[in-house]
């Protein structure tokens, strides 16, 4: 008698557990303060040295990831969200680093070169089940506003962080991973040979362009 009661209780509990699990799995995670992370660059990334340092201005950062939920970093375990749009985070990171290197213009009119950024990936990418694979990838159109000529510069950053069991640790590791891949991508852009070549070519064309004087 007692064994059948125990069996029934176990059966009921397992049915409730399965129903609860199925209901939870069906719902999309919602952003809450406890599952939201704030990704920052931390210290600005030092830029490469230019022979004749230009002044940059970031005109636009456009999301080209095609991700319908760009702020959702991880869907599992109740979800992990970013507190700001990835485009805002990337713009802030680049502006901080350019400003620290004294390469940021005060406004668009005083800039030697204007940057338009196309963000292709921000956050976690598919890795092995043993870790988190952070990836930030963007392309920058470096434009000389005077000559109208522009060149493309690609930058990518990766990072690998350990996975964890506890939600708190998962959140910490994901945040570290995203921040590290962002830092890596900004560094890849600011230290890249492509940027050096683009600046060289565009400055040459700027010097070669005829100076237009306004007619009286």
């Amino acid at each position: 008698m007692t064994s059948s009661v125990r069996f029934n209780i176990c059966l009921l509990l397992s049915v409730f557990f399965l129903l609860f699990h199925a209901a939870a799995a069906g719902q999309d995670p919602k952003p809450k303060p406890e599952n939201t992370i704030s990704a920052h660059l931390g210290e600005p990334v030092p830029a490469q040295k230019f022979a004749n340092p230009p002044k940059f201005w970031i005109s636009d950062v456009i999301d080209r990831s095609g991700n319908p939920q760009p702020m959702l970093v991880l869907k599992e375990r109740g979800g992990i969200f970013l507190d700001r749009q990835p485009t805002v985070i990337v713009r802030e990171a680049l502006e901080e680093s350019l400003k620290a290197a004294n390469l940021l213009a005060t406004d668009a009119n005083s800039a030697d070169l204007v940057l338009k950024i196309y963000l292709f990936q921000f956050g976690l990418s598919q890795g092995s089940q043993l870790d988190f694979f952070g990836k930030v990838e963007f392309t920058v159109m470096v434009k000389n506003p005077k000559s109208g000529e522009s060149l493309e510069v690609k930058a990518a950053g990766t990072s690998i962080a350990k996975t964890a069991m506890l939600k708190k640790n998962i959140q910490k590791n994901v945040q570290d991973d995203v921040e590290e891949s962002l830092r890596d991508a900004v560094r890849n852009f600011l230290h890249g040979q492509q940027l050096k070549d683009a600046v060289g070519v565009l400055r040459k064309s700027m010097n070669a362009a005829p100076v237009t004087t306004p007619n009286p």
Binding site: G127, S128, Q129
Partner: protein, 170 residues
């Protein structure tokens, strides 16, 4: 009582030796190391995501191995003064066999394993001189995904590069 004191002394000795070993600073052999995305030989059917993941893993393993003071990203500039003491790693995935779960389950003893062969060249940055050529062959269970295989391959590759560099230094 005596046994307890002896145990305590042994434990202290172990802790001290561990701390001494940790405190030892290993000076890296090179100033910078750059890993490039590996190319795939004709007939190799691996997803583009594999290349990205392997590149990331290779960089992580290079950082862990402390072969160079700094592991830089692909296409980054290096100061002219540091170029003779800087390396870059290029490579090709020469063969990939998907493996067979059925063969692996029924036969066992290594049959049906997923296998990956790759060659890597370590070159000096200043003059593109070959410092080392490494061949890696990794075999894993066919039930594991290709990203796990990338992890093993990157670990194996850096281990072999480090060994070959150590032999050259001798």
């Amino acid at each position: 009582m005596r046994i307890g004191i002896r145990m305590l002394m042994v434990a202290l000795l172990l802790v001290c030796s561990g701390a001494a070993a940790k405190g030892k600073d290993v000076t890296p052999q090179f100033k910078t190391a750059e890993a490039k995305h590996f190319t795939q030989a004709e007939g190799v059917e691996l997803s583009p995501a594999f290349g990205d993941y392997f590149y990331a893993e290779l960089r992580e393993e290079l950082k862990k191995a402390k072969l160079a003071g700094e592991v830089i990203g692909e296409g980054e500039t290096v100061d002219d003064a540091d170029a003779p003491q800087s390396i870059f790693i290029t490579g090709t995935i020469t063969e990939y066999k998907k493996g067979s779960v059925v063969k692996s389950t029924l036969i066992g003893f290594g049959a049906g394993m997923r296998s990956l062969k790759m060659d890597a060249d370590v070159l000096r940055r200043s003059d593109n001189q070959h410092l080392s050529v490494v061949h890696v062959h990794v075999k894993i269970d066919p039930r594991w995904n290709e990203k796990t295989m990338a992890k093993f391959a990157a670990h194996q590759m850096v281990k072999e590069i480090k060994e070959s560099m150590k032999n050259q230094a001798k």
